[in-house]
């Protein structure tokens, strides 16, 4: 556990920032929380709306088992208490995107109680810089529809496609103390959600958004008054919001003002926040238990099913990569940060081991290094990602096996990868066509070495007299004689033997 040293330097001294986040994560599910409507992103307006979503007279909500299951699995993934008895409440307010005039949510008895996640503050030192962020609760609720203001000169249009879509509201404790911690928290949470498969985590499509609660205080003093900035939709914007909001609050207090509890909006164009409504204008939501729904009671079989369907989670995977595969903490962190990267790496590892006839642990470091420094770099240059990579794990495995078996050199492998990305051909074909195979036959190499030593008898004398830096010269001469195709490792070994 590390104490944050992040401080806002005010005119009157240092200020500590206190941050709590409410993350709204759209549950991955084919249908909405209380109706059978579809939930696809980007559909034609009002094409995914049932009678229930439009709140027609006499329509009733029926809970969708899959949405509950996903929220429970998410709770389990953050080691949270799962409440076997929970209940839905109505949050009442009027707005044109809220057909029922209330949102079905969970105030009094949420589905998921206390849990926590561990964040890493320094990627280079994942073990030495962790912090545990408490999660107060996860509750399940309906999303609202969307207003479109650009369709008519004087009217707003309503799109109810999102109306009734299931959200998890994941409420953290006010445990974060810097923009970096908040950013790491959101990123880690997204990683976990993607591993679990309960939310796609696509912040740009709105399937994950944050309400950012910020206050400032003198270190060690009680919490200050907080503001809540709504619907911030990227990790970077979350960090910007905190930075701006904390500085604004410090300036305000130091100039004799007071922070008022209010709801604010973030403007991504300016990186600043502005007031939306103050506490006095806040709605009285008149929460009460939804009489259309019975309390949600979960049995052990359901919970077992949820637990058994959880995949290996990022922290466990990272530790396994370090301990079983011998990866560096940094590499293990990079490879487990995204579930798709980890999946890709594990396929690559299996293919490499198979093609090289070795144990996965024996080729893991090589595979990890190649993926992180070679393939990521090459894909970056092409402006594409792993998902679209023309080099599949299978093709990558074949390439890595060629290196592992000494068939090609490391530098030749770089060239082969470039050609693979360019042509889509597999490694073996390219190596044959380009004549990139290296010579590993000791007899052939020995013959070349003997020739080089014979031709440079004076240098051999000098070497033996103690000028050991000449070793590189002999390697270079041998490689040159072999047109660069000698296996450098074998060349080295033979030279060492011959030179005594």
């Amino acid at each position: 556990m590390t104490e944050s040293t992040y401080r806002i330097q005010g005119a009157t001294g240092d200020w500590e920032v206190v941050i709590g986040l409410e993350v709204h994560a759209q549950v991955t599910s084919n249908s909405k929380l209380f109706s059978g409507s579809a939930t696809a992103f980007g559909a034609e307006p009002n094409s995914q709306v049932s009678l229930v979503d439009a709140a027609m007279p006499g329509m009733l909500p029926v809970p969708n088992r899959e949405c509950i299951r996903q929220a429970v699995r998410t709770g389990m993934a953050i080691n949270a208490q799962i409440n076997k008895w929970s209940r839905f409440d109505r949050k009442n307010y009027f707005y044109a995107d809220l057909p029922q005039g209330y949102q079905i949510s969970q105030l009094y008895h949420p589905l998921v109680g206390e849990g926590s996640i561990e964040i890493v503050l320094d990627d280079k030192d994942p073990e030495g810089s962790t912090k545990t962020i408490g999660i107060e609760r996860i509750h399940v609720e309906q999303d609202a529809g969307k207003l479109m203001h650009d369709q008519h000169p004087t009217m707003s249009y309503v799109d109810l496609n999102r109306s009734g879509v299931a959200l998890m509201e994941i409420v953290s404790r006010p445990d974060m103390r810097s923009p970096a911690e908040a950013g790491a928290y959101v990123a880690k949470l997204r990683t976990i959600l993607r591993y679990v498969g309960s939310c796609d985590g696509n912040m740009d499509q709105g399937s994950m958004r944050c309400d950012v609660n910020v206050s400032v205080r003198r270190p060690g003093e009680p919490f200050g008054t907080r503001t809540e900035t709504k619907n911030v939709n990227s990790v970077r914007f979350v960090m910007q919001t905190i930075e701006h909001e904390a500085n604004r609050q410090v300036d305000l207090i130091e100039s004799g003002g007071k922070v008022v509890q209010e709801t604010r909006l973030f403007d991504p164009n300016t990186g600043t926040t502005r007031s939306m409504r103050s506490k006095e204008d806040a709605h009285d939501y008149r929460y009460f238990p939804d009489p259309d729904l019975l309390p949600l009671e979960l049995d052990d079989a359901f919970l077992d099913d949820c637990r058994n369907s959880l995949p290996e989670l990022p922290d466990a995977k990272r530790h396994r990569y370090e301990s079983d595969l011998g990866l560096s903490p940094y590499n293990a962190g990079v490879l487990t940060a995204d579930v798709e990267t980890a999946r890709w790496f594990e396929l690559l590892l299996a293919e490499t081991a198979k093609a090289a006839g070795k144990q996965p642990a024996d080729v893991a470091k090589q595979a990890a290094n190649w993926l992180i420094s070679e393939l990521f770099g090459a894909l970056n240059k092409l402006g594409t990602g792993l998902a679209e990579s023309p080099v599949t794990p299978e093709k990558g495995g074949e390439l890595l096996a060629l290196i592992a078996k000494g068939t090609i050199s490391g530098s030749a492998a770089k060239q082969v990868l470039e050609l693979m990305l360019e042509t889509g051909d597999d490694a073996g074909t390219i190596v044959e066509r380009e004549g990139l195979k290296q010579e590993s036959d000791t007899g052939a190499i020995e013959a070349e070495v003997d020739k080089v030593l014979a031709a440079n008898a004076d240098k051999v004398e000098q070497y033996k007299a103690g000028k050991v830096q000449l070793f590189g010269f002999f390697v270079g001469q041998t490689m040159k004689a072999m047109k660069g195709k000698g296996n450098p490792q074998v060349v080295n070994e033979i030279l060492k033997t011959k030179l005594g």
Binding site: P63, R286, Y287, F288, L293
Partner: protein, 496 residues
């Protein structure tokens, strides 16, 4: 045709059509004629659908010609309370805000009735959003009871509420049976006022899907008909698990009609002492005593029981029901359907205000305001939470009472029908009509009203039977025992 088919009830029509004594179309046409003839005087229907009644009847006659099964309600035309969504037929909840609203869907209960062979005579008037005890809160004008006092005066009487269109229509022979809904007595009190029979089943027996919501935790549909057997038949057709209603009971529907029995031997009937209140109407007390005597005669043992929290039931009901209503009615906002009042230059808030001000009647507004108030920050615990605790205590009262009895006998309402306009300015007096009906609603128990006789003014009085959860059979059987001994045959003189 020598027989007046409109004097027949559900069982007689079903059996007569099946035997070929008359056709379903003849029945439908006879009732259609009565509906049309009474509309101006009684205003029982908001919309008449004579063609729907005839079409359904034709289908039944065709089935009979082919020798197919006709269904539990085969050939029986009924009235549909205008709280049930009916596909292609205006559904208003007797409000202006839903005037002209024609759903594209059919409520589960009405669909089950059509599937059972019933046909629709029309949509019946009611108190607006089922809020009222006299039918005077309807936007479409009040229903007038077919009954008159025997005092020589011509005062118009209330048919009860909120299912007042249903009660008046059945009593006046405009339909052999009708659907009702009961939130705090809306089936039982109008049934008592008009000398007919009605049962509110256990909460969850009938699906609420497609029924315009008043108070979700209390709303329950049920049949209103001339006698117990007819109610049993129709309830069988209406009830059943519905996956579209999360509060629906996942239990098989018993064969209530087949198991009807008026033999009360071995049954204990509880008489709740708290229902005997100071200043109670003497005729109501006498009819209660009659009921006790009849059930004793039928073989029952009469036991004194206590329901100690009875006096808190009405106040708790008038917190819980408006609280739920204030939220349930938020959807009527002028955005998607129904009335929209958009004054020039209005913004969204203005549209809400104008639409809801114009669309809701005074009683509906009163209850929305009460409900909004009791759920507000700072008042929630004092009102809503407290009322829920009372509700739990009421349920425990019944549970304890049913340790020593099988059914409970009580009056349905504290008085016979009152005159239209008599209580409209005094909501509290109006709310007191529900004092005997509300406890069973809060506890979700099955309860029915059976005609017991006439009071000194010549107006019907009802007796209420309350049963254990899921024991509609026990309620119906006690109702049948009362019915057989009451020998109630009175009907209103036709003055319309």
């Amino acid at each position: 045709m020598s027989q007046d088919l409109t004097e027949l009830g559900v069982a007689a029509i079903r059996d007569g059509v099946a035997k070929g004594d008359f056709t379903a179309v003849e029945v439908a046409e006879a009732f259609n004629a009565n509906v049309a003839a009474a509309q101006d005087a009684l205003n029982a229907f908001i919309v008449a659908t004579p063609e729907k009644a005839v079409d359904a009847a034709k289908a039944i006659d065709a089935k009979r010609a082919k020798g197919e099964a006709l269904g539990k309600m085969g050939g029986v035309p009924i009235g549909m309370k205008d709280l049930f969504a009916t596909q292609g037929v205006q559904t208003t909840a007797a409000s202006h805000i839903l005037e002209g609203f024609t759903p594209e869907y059919e409520s589960t209960v009405s669909q089950k009735l059509w599937d059972a062979g019933a046909g629709m005579l029309g949509k019946l008037n009611l108190d607006q959003f089922a809020m009222g005890s006299s039918n005077e809160t309807s936007y479409f004008g009040n229903v007038v009871s077919p009954w008159k006092r025997n005092d020589g005066g011509n005062a118009s009487l209330a048919p009860g509420g909120s299912s007042g269109g249903s009660s008046a229509a059945v009593a006046a022979r405009l339909c052999p049976a009708a659907t009702g809904t009961d939130t705090g007595g809306s089936i039982r009190q109008p049934a008592a006022f008009t000398g007919i029979t009605g049962i509110k089943p256990t909460y969850g027996r009938c699906s609420r899907w497609g029924v315009v919501a008043f108070a979700s935790s209390l709303d329950q549909a049920g049949p209103m008909a001339r006698d117990t057997r007819d109610c049993a038949i129709m309830l069988e057709a209406m009830a059943g698990f519905d996956p579209k209603d999360a509060t629906s009971l996942d239990m098989p529907v018993p064969e209530w009609e087949a198991n009807l029995s008026a033999d009360m031997k071995g049954k204990r009937v509880g008489i709740p002492r708290e229902y005997r209140m100071d200043g109670m109407d003497e005729d109501v007390l006498k009819s209660w005593d009659d009921g006790i005597a009849w059930l004793k005669e039928a073989g029952a043992e009469i036991v004194d029981i206590s329901l100690p929290h009875t006096k808190y039931a009405l106040p708790a009901y008038y917190i819980i029901a408006p609280a739920e209503a204030s939220s349930n009615l938020a959807r009527y906002d002028g955005v998607r359907y129904g009335l929209r009042d958009l004054p020039d230059g209005a913004n969204l808030q203005d549209m809400y205000a104008a639409t809801r001000a114009a669309g809701f009647g005074a009683e509906v507004k009163r209850r929305i305001l009460i409900g909004t108030y009791v759920l507000s920050a700072g008042f929630y615990d004092a009102y809503y939470t407290q009322a829920q605790k009372v509700r739990t205590l009421i349920s425990i009262d019944f549970k304890n009472a049913f340790e020593s009895c099988d059914v409970i006998l009580a009056p349905t309402a504290p008085s016979a029908a009152f005159g239209l306009g008599e209580n409209v300015d005094d909501p509290l007096k109006m709310y007191l009509n529900d004092v005997f009906a509300v406890p069973a609603s809060l506890a979700g128990l099955p309860a029915m009203s059976v005609p017991a006789g006439l009071n000194r003014e010549g107006l019907p009085l009802g007796l209420q039977v309350i049963g254990k959860a899921f024991d509609e059979q026990g309620v119906l059987n006690a109702g049948l025992a009362l019915e057989q001994r009451a020998g109630f045959t009175a009907k209103p003189d036709k003055w319309w």
